[in-house]
Structure formats: structure tokens, C-alpha cells
Symmetry: C2
Subunit: 253 residues, 2 copies
């Protein structure tokens, strides 16, 4: 396995930051990485030289650099579905006041590739580029349900079902029935299965060959959105996804 240790270490430093950790000192990074501070210093200076890390001039702490935002934008800008769907996300979020997500399958995992936050619902779990569990998210269920039987078997083989909440389905037989239901009704629901207090609906987007490309979802807080409203949102989602699927027929991908 041709892994280069020093590159791996540099990347692991980048992975130390998250939405709660915006800055870190050299000594903190040294502790977390189990590396000598002079080693960390060299790694940080290399990342800094190429703008993947920057140093706060006021307190000397390190943080993720803007080059990541730029590179990340290049990744997303190459996805036709993201560009085509952008106005639908904005429109749906404006109309429903909820948070709207776009997700795709990437290898054997789901991943969020766009998100528009609604006024009424602040959803913390999802983040562009972040992995999403296939078994406990509405998007994940959609991406699975509309796969070919072969592909679905591959995806579910040795799948690791894990509780995210008390509502999470972790029995595979029950989960397969759930996927059947998704295909029957044309949408998936995540009823507080991924995040306490959050209920989501997702609908598939197809390409010209009838393969599922992505899924669009609306996330709501159960305390603010009742069943009736949710079903109105599902109708809006279906309309949007039908249009999107129509447009994606003409995109060569």
C-alpha cells in the first residue's frame, strides 16, 4: 500500500478542524496528532505556504485556509446536477421556509453536495461534502431504493446499520421493506431517524437513462411542521424533481 506518511499526516491536520473548532495552537495539534511540535511546525508551514492553512496574526493560532474553499468550489462546480438544481433549492427553500438538500451517491456512501438553509429550520447535521448515512436519511433511502437490484445488493452487502436515534431502522429485513415503500410512494421519509426532532422527505432526480442521479430533500422540525404541511412540501418536491429530471435528460454526463 503506497501511502506516504508525511502527506497523510498533513491531511489529518486538515481534518482536525470542524464547525466547533475553528482555530488550534501548535501544541494542541501536536497533542492530537501524537507528533513532536517541530514536526507539526514543518507540516503547518508547508500547508500555509500553499494557503491550505493560515495563521491568525493576532494570536498565532492556525486555521483552515481559503484555498480549501476555492478547491472545494472547483469540485462542486464540475457537477452539472448542482448547477441545474441550484435555483430549485433556492425556490423550494423560499416557498417552504425549510432547509433543502441535494445529495448523491459517491462510491458506497451518500454525500450532501448542496444545501440552502430555511428560515424556520436550522439543520446542523448536514454539510456540503459531508457523508450521509444511507439507512437513516431520506436522501439515503431514495438513492438506495432506485438503484438496480445488482447495485443495491452491492451497497447493502455488509452494510453497517447503526443507531443515530431511537427511531433508526437497523433491521435489514425491515429496511428493505422500507425501500419497497419508497418506490411505491415515490418519496422517502426520515422520521427522526437521523436527527432528533428533525423530519425529512426526499424525492429522486433521474438522468436520461432513468438512473437515479441525485435526491432532493426538505428537512423540517417536527415542532414546527405538521403532517399536512409536510405532504404539501412533498408535492412541491415531486414537481421540482420532475422538472429537474426532465432537464437532466439533455445533460451529457
Amino acid at each position: 500500500m503506497p501511502i506516504i506518511q508525511s502527506v497523510e499526516r498533513a491531511l489529518k491536520i486538515l481534518d482536525l478542524f470542524d464547525e466547533y473548532t475553528s482555530e488550534l495552537k501548535i501544541t494542541e495539534i501536536s497533542e492530537k496528532m501524537g507528533l513532536h511540535k517541530s514536526t507539526v511546525h514543518s507540516l503547518l508551514k508547508t500547508l500555509q505556504e500553499h494557503s491550505y492553512i493560515s495563521q491568525n496574526p493576532e494570536d498565532g493560532k492556525y486555521r483552515l485556509g481559503l484555498k480549501l474553499a476555492e478547491r472545494g468550489n472547483v469540485v462542486i462546480s464540475h457537477m452539472d446536477i448542482t448547477k441545474t438544481a441550484k435555483n430549485y433549492l433556492l425556490d423550494l427553500s423560499a416557498k417552504t421556509k425549510q432547509t433543502v438538500h441535494l445529495g448523491i451517491l459517491d462510491g458506497r456512501e451518500g454525500v450532501y453536495i448542496d444545501k440552502v438553509e430555511g428560515e424556520q429550520s436550522i439543520i446542523r447535521y448536514s454539510r456540503i461534502g459531508r457523508r450521509l448515512p444511507l439507512h437513516s436519511t431520506a436522501i439515503g433511502k431514495v438513492l438506495l431504493a432506485y438503484q438496480s437490484p445488482n447495485k443495491m445488493e452491492l451497497l447493502l452487502k455488509n452494510y453497517h446499520y447503526q443507531h443515530q436515534t431511537a427511531n433508526t431502522i437497523i433491521n435489514e429485513t425491515v429496511f428493505r421493506e422500507e425501500l419497497e415503500k419508497v418506490k411505491e410512494q415515490g418519496y422517502a421519509l426520515d422520521d427522526q431517524e437521523n436527527e432528533q426532532g428533525v423530519r425529512c422527505a426526499a424525492v429522486p432526480i433521474f438522468n436520461g437513462k432513468g438512473h437515479v442521479l441525485a435526491a432532493l430533500s426538505i428537512s423540517t422540525l417536527v415542532s414546527r411542521v405538521n403532517d399536512q404541511e409536510l405532504h404539501l412540501f412533498i408535492d412541491l418536491l415531486k414537481t421540482s424533481c420532475k422538472d429537474l429530471s426532465e432537464q437532466m435528460r439533455y445533460v451529457d454526463e
Copy 2:
């Protein structure tokens, strides 16, 4: 200088991709980097292991990984100004149908940190995370003009004026007069100075201490927006930035 060569090489591979180059073969990367293909192979496999690079299963080519989008999102999500300004960008773009940008100073350079594209104007130059020239962009002029005299001197010391178009101001005396004018009128203009056929206006956003935090701009195509419309847009920008500056007074940064 404690630069780690193999880390630097890995980062340079990430920098090879752009909006026109989404995928590359190992042999292409080997040629561009001047490295042996087995060295490149090890670097790619390390980046791939951590999702910074992925491999197209269909043709074996390499492309930027979604981890960059996720890390990039973490960078942006830590910026209060981006969150606070988001709805203003969306609103301004919807009202004017033009492309709206948010930019900040990062060290001695400007950088775009958010962007909402308008229906009427597709602006290619700007990209979130990308550097912006201080002398030829409206945002750059604003970020300079409202700096303290000391800071401005530091920023302009040995500044490298370069033509972006035939209209670009490259004489420092003339440029300083331009910055005076920006302060007088409360906005900056880039009249095809950065990109042929594109005219932009930008207005400053201040923090509670009266320091310029960021600039908001509207970019238009000269073929589609006349002087009168542009001045209407500038008025809308001023209103938005006044509100934003008011809100940023209460943000601890």
C-alpha cells in the same frame, strides 16, 4: 525553511485542477509535475485514501475529492460575515438579476468568500476562495480605500500593478486618486478594468469599530445594463451594506 517536499507535491497535485480541467490521468500528472509515475501513484493513493482525490471508476482518471468541498465549507462556515450577508446576496441578486459577490482582505490580498449568480450575468473570473486583484476590482478598491492610512501604505508598498484589460489603472498616483474618489462617493467602480465587458460596483461593510470588514458588489455586463440601472443598483447596495454594517456591530469578531 521547514517545507516538507512530499506534502508540497501532494498539494501541487490538488492545484492542477480547475474549472476547465476536471479529470487527469496519472501520466498527465506525472508530466505536469515532472515526477515519476510511481511517485505520482503513491501521492494520489494517499490523497484518495483521505478523500481529497477520487478516481473515476469508469476511466480510471483522477479528480478532486469531495472532502475538499466539506473542508471548504468549514472554512466559510466560520465566517460570521458570510452567514450574516447570505440573505442580502440572495435578495440583491433576485432583485437586480445580476451576480453579487462578497469579498474580504486576507493578508495582503483580496478574496471572494461568497457569490450568487444572477440570471442576466454569468461572471467567470470570480470563484469563492479565489484571489482578487486589489487594483482592478471594485471590491479590491473598497477594501483598500477604507483602510487606515498606515495599513493602506503597507498594502500598496511594492504593489505589483498589472494590466487585466486595456482599462486597468496601473499608475499608482492615478490609482490613489481613484481611492480618494471611492471614499468621497461611498462606492467603487470597476469599469471593465478586470474583465472585458464587465462593470462592477462595490460598497463597504463595517464592523462595530468602523473598520472595513468586507465589500459587497454587483457585477453587470455592459451590453445589458446602462448607467441609470447601475446607479439604481448602487443605491440598493448601499442600503444593504448599511443594514449589514448595523448587524455586524453586534457580532463579536
